[in-house]
């Protein structure tokens, strides 16, 4: 298995190049603005690059999509040979094996699942990117595009088509023998005997004529433009193809093989003698499939140590294989760079924490109380504060967006209102907000000069060195963000206390940065991310269980906080 990052980049570029405006619309759906789901395809592909094998329901949940819609898109991708899918009937046990595999790979995208016991032989679908095939598909597609344009350009190897103006019947030159009439020198339609007209090439079908010089020249120019445009615009993609050419393709194998492998890797990872939390290693073993009764299954995400994470990473995903240093022009293309994350996440983790105290006095206290483990509580609170912060920012943006886009706002606003009226706690809204962040994360950071914020980081790092050290270690372990969060959760209490003090200092600094940032974003308006559409918001609000939210929130906030802060801290 090779490094996966260049391939992910390839997928993302290809998604934006070719699947940007794919809509998967049912025939009977009204063509309102809300059902305009262009861009979903890109979002799904992006999400898949962050996962390996994933159950489609989980993916749908994570993306806040309807399973139906997701399936339709995935089926399309399957036809396009971008993803492999697997369907199987499985019981709760089968699901557990899969869960274990997911937990072992540590990609952390899966959510806590309480309903395992309820599944009784349901058919589940899984999907996964097929990198080897994607590489070929993209290459072939480019080849065909180029060939078609070139052929048209030289009007070589093209079979002339004829069309009957009266009955719109089409013929090709291969039918010529049947079409000639003994009386005049034109082709005649077989059904209506009308005179056929030569149809100019499909690419430039607007100028139907009998091919006099002018038309021909114009067509020629147009084709040439098309060709150069194509080469210009697809250059990043072609470059990426070239870069990926000699790399070993990451191969996940079939679903079963992957599960076995991931589980094995997870087990060895958990067996690591360095693990400093005794409870988690036993849990990890239990997940391997041995049917022993163990408690706290849903908390598995929280309980890994960093050492474990590292071990697993090497064995299962290999994201930490040495990466090429990317040229500067690539940095703005909207990818997760490990380096970047490394820099940005550090301050984030810290700043979230110190704000906690002030916010705790709010109504949310009750939510945190029921967590026994102090460390978890600490993290939760941190995340929560960050979420609030994000929400405020989002609302500001929302106001802007509403002003700018009159059409879509009404729908959005109404759904938001209903959400609140139903009596959902505001937490739920937070949850939604956070997911917005995930969408946005797919978008290219508009103008991030990495040099700039690295300077910021160093300043902050001095304030609390002990934290920073830890963080750096974890971050280097891999690009997957949840790992980082799990690590935090399992940390001994003492360090968090220390951290809290230093955070207070840091808070003041961060505040100034944050306000600057907010200003900057106001100026930018909502243009920051092409994927953040009002429709998306609506989609995301689709049904969640209240009960569900609590646990998922816990797990997710960790991820989200980080991403969000990455966002906030960008100068």
């Amino acid at each position: 298995m090779g490094s996966i990052e260049p391939f992910n980049r390839l997928v993302k570029l290809a998604a934006r190049a070719f699947y940007d405006d794919i809509t998967t619309k049912g025939e009977n759906q009204p063509k309102t603005g809300r059902s305009d789901n262009r861009g979903i395809a890109v979002v799904i592909l992006d999400a898949l690059t962050r996962r390996q094998w994933v159950r489609e329901e989980d993916l749908a949940k994570d993306l806040k999509l309807h399973t139906k819609q997701l399936r339709r898109t995935l089926r399309f991708f399957e036809e396009e040979k971008l993803v492999t899918r697997d369907h199987r009937k499985e019981t709760a046990k089968g699901a557990k094996i899969y869960n274990a595999a997911v937990a072992a790979t540590g990609d952390g995208q899966q959510t806590g699942r309480e309903g395992d016991e309820k599944l009784k032989m349901h058919t589940h679908s899984y999907c996964c990117l097929d990198y080897a095939q994607i590489y070929d598909v993209v290459r072939y597609r480019l080849h065909r595009m180029k060939k078609k344009l070139k052929d048209e350009l030289e009007s070589k190897n093209t079979v002339q088509e004829y069309i009957c103006p009266s009955c719109n019947k089409r013929y090709t030159a291969l039918d010529a023998l049947r079409l000639i009439s003994p009386y005049d020198e034109y082709f005649h339609c077989e059904s209506c005997n009308g005179v056929l007209v030569a149809e100019s090439d499909k690419l430039t079908s607007q100028d139907i004529g009998d091919g006099d010089d002018n038309v021909r020249r114009r067509r020629h120019e147009k084709l040439k433009d098309l060709l150069t445009n194509m080469e210009d615009q697809l250059k990043p993609l072609i470059d990426q193809l070239g870069r990926v050419k000699d790399l070993p393709v990451p191969e996940f194998g079939s679903l079963q093989a992957w599960e076995v492998r991931a589980n094995a890797a997870g087990r060895t990872g958990n067996g690591d003698p360095n693990s400093n939390d005794p409870s988690k290693s036993s849990q990890g073993l239990g997940f391997g499939g041995t049917p022993m009764p163990y408690v706290g299954e849903t908390k598995v995400e929280v309980a890994f140590t960093g050492d474990d994470e590292k071990g697993e990473n090497i064995k299962s995903i290999n994201t930490n294989a040495p990466m090429k240093i990317l040229p500067p022009w690539m940095l703005k293309e909207g990818m997760n760079y490990t380096k970047e994350q490394l820099g940005e996440t550090k301050p984030e983790a810290n700043l979230g924490g110190k704000s906690v105290e002030s916010e705790l006095s709010d109504d949310k206290k009750s939510a945190t109380v029921n967590n026994e483990a102090k460390s978890i509580q600490d993290e939760y609170v941190k995340a929560y504060y960050a979420a609030i912060l994000e929400r405020q920012r989002e609302q500001e943006e929302m106001v802007k967006a509403q002003e700018s886009s009159n059409t879509s706002t009404s729908a959005e606003v109404s759904t938001m209102l209903t959400d609140r009226q139903v009596g959902m706690k505001s937490k739920r809204n937070d949850y939604d907000r956070e997911d917005d962040v995930e969408w946005e994360e797919a978008a290219p950071p508009t103008s991030s000069t990495s040099v700039h914020y690295k300077v910021d980081l160093n300043v902050e790092a001095e304030a609390f060195e002990d934290d920073e050290d830890d963080d750096i270690d974890w971050e280097e372990g891999g690009s997957s963000s949840t790992k980082h969060e799990r690590v935090h959760a399992s940390r001994p209490l003492s360090s968090t206390a220390v951290r809290r003090d230093s955070r207070k200092e840091f808070m003041q600094k961060r505040h100034s940065i944050g306000s600057l940032q907010r200003e900057a974003e106001k100026i930018e308006g909502s243009s920051g991310s092409p994927w953040h559409r009002p429709e998306m918001d609506v989609l995301q609000k689709c049904d969640h269980d209240e009960s569900d939210i609590e646990s998922r929130f816990l797990a997710k906030t960790f991820v989200k906080t980080k991403k969000l802060l990455v966002h906030v801290l960008q100068p």
Binding site: S155, Q160, L174, A176, Y186
Partner: protein, 177 residues
């Protein structure tokens, strides 16, 4: 492209041919039946060059006809995409021209004729360059490249182009006179 291949066919022979020259009868009937036909798979059967074997005859109940499985060698002609052939122009019209390369009909549409050749209608419709040096009319010989084939069960039709290097009228003074 021409191929020399072995094909097999079941020949039905009337009882009246049974006699000393039964074999010759089979061969002559085979030639009459097969030569000049076209199969989508092998192309046009141009000529039979020899008989490989004649199997045991099977008498049909009721009719008295006898069926012999015959293996024979033959030359077949099958046009391929990308192949360059020489052909004789049979008809010229505004849409292009038709030509024949042996048994195969080829159509060259006007957008696959070089841009400098113009259609001239009249008694003898033709395509002529602006300086009049090259003229494509009925019975001209052209070299063309096949760019598409339509193969039916009993028919092969091709479209060709002369818009490429070394294609067009074959300027052999003896041939065009």
């Amino acid at each position: 492209m021409f191929f020399h291949i072995v094909l097999e066919r079941n020949m039905q022979l009337h009882p009246r041919h049974f006699g000393r020259d039964l074999r010759d009868k089979i061969v002559s009937k085979l030639m009459k039946d097969v030569e000049g036909t076209c199969s989508g798979r092998h192309g046009f059967i141009v000529a039979i060059t020899g008989i490989e074997s004649v199997g045991k005859g099977l008498i049909r109940d009721g009719t008295g006809f006898v069926t012999f499985p015959v293996k024979y060698q033959c030359v077949v002609f099958r046009p391929f995409k990308g192949e360059v052939v020489e052909a004789v122009v049979t008809m010229v019209n505004k849409m292009g021209f038709f030509a024949e390369a042996g048994p195969v009909q080829i159509f060259v549409s006007n957008h696959l004729i070089p841009d400098d050749m113009e259609f001239q209608s009249g008694d003898m419709p033709n395509y002529t360059t602006s300086d009049g040096s090259v003229k494509i009319q009925k019975d001209s010989e052209v070299r063309l490249k096949i760019i598409g084939t339509r193969v039916d069960a009993t028919e092969i039709f091709c479209i060709g182009t002369i818009k490429d290097d070394f294609l067009g009228v074959i300027s052999d003074p003896g041939a065009t006179s």
